[in-house]
């Protein structure tokens, strides 16, 4: 605690205070701008309810997809050493830094009606991903995957291989080691990675509108509804924004102990 009593140079204190204000002011703006008296009415408006329902379903689906694909990837990156591993790792991280609209264009080129895989899906299986909730899940999982992979990979590295090895020397089979030793050891990281991936999926906008379009009740998630309703029904848009803010703060609060624990 003696860190706090140390004198802070003004050259640091002032920009630090400005930095805090810079982040906090837009959040305060969202709260003060919100039409509190009509909030309940705005959130129960049919358009808002459809968007909320869709957002919850699709972001949950995207988290499951990111989990199913991201956990094996994280294990591979943490435990295996192979040629081109760092290159593969960088590729998996690309969606984290790629502009989401560009991600949407890429998804169209791959899974669109005339895309690399999408053409086959549409012609032979009759599966259309664009303009469907499945397309939203795909777009959200694409941008959320790296968040799960980095979180879980870091935890797997930190946990080390000693316990796994001990289990192995005691005769446990690889699958048992994974299930009984590795996964329990990184349990909190799995939860944190899933929470981060879910939050990212919930807020996804650019890839969704580019790839899955903006179909009411089918692909119009909360961020898309906020964008569209800003012109039409600003109170509903602000109410939905406020709800997204509350969700973000909740996720952060849930992860707080984990991050503070790491910082000390």
């Amino acid at each position: 605690m003696n860190r706090r009593t140390r004198r802070v140079p003004l050259g640091i204190a002032i920009p630090a205070a400005l930095g805090l204000a810079f982040v906090v002011l837009p959040l305060v703006g969202l709260v003060t701008d919100a039409p509190w008296d009509t909030l309940v009415g705005s959130l129960t408006n049919p358009e808002a309810r459809a968007a909320l329902r869709l957002s919850l379903l699709c972001s949950a689906g995207a988290t499951v997809v990111a989990f199913g694909l991201g956990l094996p990837l994280a294990w591979v990156f943490a435990r295996l050493d192979f040629r081109g591993r760092s290159f593969a790792w960088a590729l998996v991280m690309v969606p984290m830094v790629l502009p989401p609209v560009v991600a949407g264009v890429g998804l169209l080129a791959a899974f669109g009606r005339r895309g690399l895989v999408g053409g086959f899906l549409a012609d032979h299986l009759g599966v259309y991903l664009t303009f469907s909730p499945a397309g939203v899940v795909l777009a959200e999982a694409f941008v959320a995957l790296p968040f799960l992979v980095v979180t879980v990979e870091a935890a797997l590295r930190a946990a080390g291989t000693e316990l796994e090895e001990a289990a192995r020397t005691l005769g446990a089979r690889p699958w048992t080691v994974l299930r009984r030793v590795t996964l329990p050891a990184v349990g909190p990281a799995l939860a944190a990675g899933a929470a981060l991936a879910w939050a990212r999926a919930l807020g996804e906008f650019g890839a969704t509108i580019t790839f899955a379009g903006n179909v009411s009740g089918r692909t119009r998630t909360v961020p898309l509804a906020v964008y569209l309703l800003l012109d039409r029904e600003p109170e509903v848009a602000t109410a939905l924004s406020l709800l997204m803010l509350a969700v973000s703060i909740t996720v952060l609060a849930a992860l707080r102990s984990r991050w503070l624990g790491r910082a000390q």
Partner: protein, 291 residues
């Protein structure tokens, strides 16, 4: 290589488990390899970063900054015609830089009411422009008209002949009902007695992005302006909507109260409504009201 190889009988008891020293770092036989922190060595990364930044600098900083600016907010559908008009205006006014700000007329009007620093607004609905009231610095002039058309992918794969055919498509792109093109499209569908379930409509904020769902995406048709389909070139074909169901958009232009140089803004409006502007609008497919 597996980081934990199946242990051979000889080293089954790994040193970590028998050593009395707590020096796990050296005792563990197969440590996970270090995290792939950087793909390239720092120097190459720096060179690559520099190259990318240089490209941005060359692309972004080319125009000189000592010219005065005129920012014109326009309905997205006006962009091709106004690009021509702006070129002529800049040729006639050396030292003036005109920036076009395309978007949904409704969104632009809302931004202007919020204080966006535009000098001129040219919207797809003259009455919406007029409704800005005190934010205007002059009268609203109706300078162009437009009609709706159905845009379909090249070759018209779903054989769309009219609005009624939209009912059997998987997905149709329409403008949002807040934008003039969306309101006109809904009126046209009502007039043609066609009902589309919302689950088969994807909505975009303005005409250009609505058409993009057909030219770049998977939408099977879009209801946009005739001029939008024309400017898309070979990427889309137009299916005519008969006059009985069609709607006429009346475009209005006005100088805004926030204009830095109202005189220059008025000159721009004059260019749009004089024969040069009318020629560019006609060439793009707009109708122009009589002089």
């Amino acid at each position: 290589m597996r980081s934990v190889a199946p242990a051979a009988p000889a080293d089954r008891r790994s040193p970590a488990l028998v050593s009395s020293q707590p020096d796990y770092c050296h005792a563990v036989p197969h440590r996970p390899s270090p995290r792939p922190a950087a793909l390239w060595p720092p120097r190459r990364t720096a060179v690559a970063l520099l190259a990318v930044l240089t490209i941005f600098a060359i692309a972004g900083c080319a125009p000189s900054n000592d010219r005065s600016r005129l920012t014109v907010a326009i309905a997205a559908s006006l962009e091709p015609a106004f690009t021509v008009i702006v070129r002529e205006f800049e040729d006639a006014h050396p030292g003036i830089d005109v920036t076009l700000e395309p978007g949904s007329s409704t969104a632009l009007a809302a931004r202007i009411a919020d204080g966006a620093p535009y000098s001129v607004l040219a919207g797809a609905d003259a009455s919406r422009v007029a409704s800005l009231g005190a934010d205007l610095a002059g009268p609203v002039t109706v300078f162009a008209t437009n009609r709706l058309a159905i845009a379909v992918p090249p070759g018209n794969p779903r054989r769309v002949r009219g609005l009624a055919d939209l009912a059997r498509l998987r997905i149709t792109a329409l403008c949002d009902i807040a934008a003039p093109c969306g309101r006109y499209a809904d009126e046209a569908l009502t007039a043609a007695e066609v009902t589309l379930p919302e689950s088969r409509i994807t909505r975009a904020p303005d005409a250009t992005t609505t058409l993009r769902a057909v030219t770049r995406g998977d939408a099977e048709a879009a209801v946009v302006y005739v001029t939008d389909v024309r400017s898309a070139g070979p990427a889309a074909e137009a299916v005519t909507i008969p006059p009985s169901a069609n709607r006429t958009a009346r475009y209005g232009i006005a100088v805004l109260a926030g204009a830095d140089d109202p005189g220059l803004a008025r000159e721009f409006v004059t260019t749009v409504t004089d024969p040069r502007g009318r020629a560019a609008l006609t060439a793009a497919g707009f109708g122009v009201p009589g002089p």
